[in-house]
């Protein structure tokens, strides 16, 4: 509790930096990060104010958690303490947008959906369909490398962030990249910050390359009696000339969570009508195609009889939004569910889904999954039975069994699970990238480890 003393005096100094109105002392009901309640929340209004806050924190060894819309703060390890929650939400303007350039410069605290509306007026978009975009900020999405089904064809933030401004713990306001779509001057700091989970610096501005938004799309939902059949279809699809915008696999239990749960149940009591009575085993592969009537007709022709249903317009948008919100839907209904994100070579998608279907029941958990078969990014849910709340060790053992079944070179990070369980295993797991080198990079830029200490892999 050494930070209590330094917090008291830091409080006044923080107020002098950002203004009294933009400092909030926490109380018992305040927002917490896996149980750790930040002592104080500050809302700096400019990169310079962020710099002053970080400098102060660095001098006093105060742990800072950078935050945007608070949609992904529960991902990661359990922090020992969080002294300052640094919200970027006051930095929320579009700094520059010329539709002809197909680029936009946005302050980090702007909710993504707000930027999307501005781009939409010119029929453009940044093709990211991660969850909760009304709240999630552009900075937070970059920091977490968030993505949804559109990752299949567009990639993610890494591929469309062309410039970034950020503040380092020694109070430097630094930029990388620029406002042009092609640029190799200097190191690619955008790549370094994408998916760094706020562990390196506080992002304050992002320049995106933007794209023309497709004018017409149609979704073909194809049904298969087994995972194998679905994977075979995927292979044929890859070999065909078709170039769908999204290709998503949906496991037999997942459709239960692809809808609006109108009533929010108490997760401990909630028992869906027929959760366990096995539904007909049906693996779905959903394809979203772009193009004119002529192009879409060809999709229908080539896909043929495997298409179970076709979606268009509002129903189609709704369907994909449900896919994006799969994990939120699971978690809102089962507080104790565990969600794992995978990074796989694409041929390992099948084995990873098999591993899920095998490991989950062994630990009394129900498996459900959606995911991008073209990139190997799956969202796997392990859902506890309402009658049998799992113990902390049960999660740990299940994760370990699941990871043990994955082919080499795969990574599987536990994004969500009860915080009590997180202390029993490594939530990030193994990665093919040299961790020693990651730590060296972290040390070079945040030597005192004040940013998100104990939460990320470094």
């Amino acid at each position: 509790m050494s930070s209590v003393m330094s917090m008291a005096s830091a409080d006044r100094e923080l107020a002098s930096i950002v203004g009294e109105a933009h400092v909030r002392r926490s109380d018992a009901d305040s927002f917490h990060i896996n149980g750790a309640v930040p002592a104080v929340t500050v809302y700096p209004g400019s990169p310079e104010e962020v710099a002053a806050v970080l400098k102060l924190a660095n001098a006093r060894d105060l742990v800072v958690a950078p935050a945007g819309g608070l949609t992904k703060q529960q991902i990661g390890g359990v922090p020992e303490r969080v002294d300052i929650l640094l919200r970027t939400t006051r930095m929320n303007l579009i700094e520059e947008y010329d539709p002809g350039d197909l680029t936009i410069a946005v302050q980090a605290g702007m909710p993504f959906a707000e930027m999307r509306r501005a781009l939409g007026e010119h029929h453009q978009w940044v093709p990211c369909d991660a969850a909760r975009l009304e709240h999630a900020t552009v900075g937070g999405l970059l920091a977490t490398g968030a993505a949804g089904p559109l990752k299949s064809s567009f990639g993610h933030m890494r591929d469309f962030c062309i410039g970034v401004q950020f503040v380092t713990t020694d109070g430097k306001v630094v930029k990388g990249g620029g406002r042009v779509v092609k640029n190799v001057a200097g190191y690619d700091l955008m790549k370094l910050l994408t998916g760094s989970y706020g562990s390196l610096a506080v992002i304050t501005r992002i320049n995106y390359k933007v794209f023309p938004r497709p004018r017409q799309t149609r979704t073909f939902v194809c049904s298969f009696p087994s995972l194998n059949a679905a994977m075979q279809f995927r292979t044929q699809l890859f070999q065909s000339p078709l170039t769908p915008m999204c290709v998503e696999i949906i496991s037999p239990h997942a459709p239960e969570y692809l809808n609006d749960s109108t009533t929010v149940h108490d997760p401990d009591d909630y028992a869906p009508e027929q959760p366990i009575s096995l539904p007909a085993i049906e693996w779905l592969v959903a394809l979203r195609a772009v193009g004119s009537d002529n192009v879409l007709a060809r999709y229908a022709r080539e896909l043929g009889a495997v298409v179970a249903r076709t979606l268009e317009g509002a129903a189609e948008d709704q369907f994909w939004s449900w896919i994006s919100h799969f994990e939120q839907n699971v978690l809102s209904r089962h507080r104790n569910a565990m969600v794992i994100y995978t990074h796989l070579a694409i041929q390992n998608v099948g084995p990873a889904l098999q591993a899920l279907e095998r490991a989950a029941p062994d630990y009394n958990l129900i498996p459900a999954a959606v995911g991008r078969v073209a990139t190997g990014n799956l969202v796997l849910a392990f859902i506890p039975l309402s009658v049998d709340p799992p113990s902390a060790m049960q999660y740990a053992n299940c994760v370990s069994a699941f990871r043990g079944l994955l082919p080499p070179g795969s990574s599987a990070e536990v994004a969500y699970c009860p915080k009590e369980a997180k202390n029993h295993f490594d939530v990030w797991g193994t990665t093919p990238t040299d961790v020693k080198m990651m730590r060296a990079v972290k040390k070079a830029i945040d030597p005192k480890n004040i940013l998100n200490r104990g939460r990320f892999i470094v």
Binding site: A185, K191, N294, V295, N348, T430, T433, M438, A444
Partner: protein
Amino acid sequence: MDSSILRQLKKIAGKESVLDQPEELMLYEYDAGVDVHRPGAVVFAQTTQQVSQIMKLASDRKIPVVPRGAGTGLSGGAIARREAIVLSLAKMNKILEIDVPNQRAVVQPGVVNLELSNATAKYGYYYAPDPSSQKACTIGGNVAENSGGPHTLALGVTVNHVTGLEIVLPDGRVVEFGGKAQDATGLDLTGFFVGSEGTMGVVTRITVKLTKLPEHVTTLLGIYNTVEDAANTVVAITQSGVTPAALEMLDGWMVRCVEANVHAGYPEDAAAVLLIELEGMREVVEEQAKAVSEVCLQQKAREVRHAKDEKQRQLLWLGRKTAFGAVGRVSPSYYTQDGVIPRTKVPYTLAEIERISKKYGLIIGNVFHAGDGNLHPLILFNNRDPEQVEKSHAAAKEIMACCLKFGGSITGEHGVGMEKMGLMTAMFTEDDLEVMIRLRNAFNPESILNPQKMIPELHFCREITGPLPKAKVEPVAGVPV
């Protein structure tokens, strides 16, 4: 070079793999750019282990090492300053694995870019980044420079196609970043490493994405009576909702230069031509070709030609890909620029270049990736005429100043290297550069690898990195430092 070091290099790599005679070293004192420096020795590594041993030796003896692929770079990145060792990866040129089901290939750094596409074509795949030097340049060099090319407009540059790297750090340690998966848990060091111009580590193995060959490809040639109309078309096409696979522009002077060289079929009286390539599903390409032709004609194109067959299409591209060589025929020397500007500023910037050309009395030809706003003005001069040399540098600076005025970049794909290091301070603040140096030092703390390249050592940074000579920082006219 110290004879004991030469002895040890020969012990590591074999006698025949070390060059130390002046007449041999002469061949390694330049790249495709303008700078010339003679290295102390050249060593050809054949295995990762040899690279590791060479790096360890160099670290222990504090001798700078400059990794080199085919030497086709345009910014001096592979040229060794002072008494350094050039570490050539050209003999590590095997394609280790073509993994069609995972859409990946694993290659050694010395594999030539085009060879990979040739080797994978029979499976229906290719390697998308296609620098103009793709017949010669190596994928290791592409990784170092984050190379682009005409077809990166739709598909992205090298970094968008690399998923895994094996790297030898300056102290000889061998590390892995990423693999065959699209991404990995933790920091994206793979993405961060690409484009680090040999200042962080030596790449010894690369995993790249393979891209499915498109079902259909079509190439259009838009012919214009004024450069302005062509430039306006570029803006109009990107706004129309079509993203071509490539969108290239050549001005009238370049057109005539290219025609004299290869007879690509460009009309010699045009003020500018646009080369537009569309690819994908047949139906999509046909619709887009129609839409793009209409946009061209709306923007006052004199004529829009469609390549009738594959032969004609290849010929149109031959003109573009050999444009630099064609200039070499008419001028003893030329200075290639690589500035980038926002797309909407293409018309204005071309007018500026025209003005600069007149001001200095030098011919400036324009051939560039219009869709990306990546300009390649070629400034022609006679390198035996000191006055012209000076003028060419002054003209280059004015063009750069113009790019930077619009929030552009000093380099889109050629890299900073030695050539543009002095311009870095025009784009980045001291704080920006200091953080970059700190990050580099995490990999390369003693600047053994490719010293004095890419990031200028400012006075402030010198205190951190030790006594390195200060880079020459030249102020750029019109740009606040």
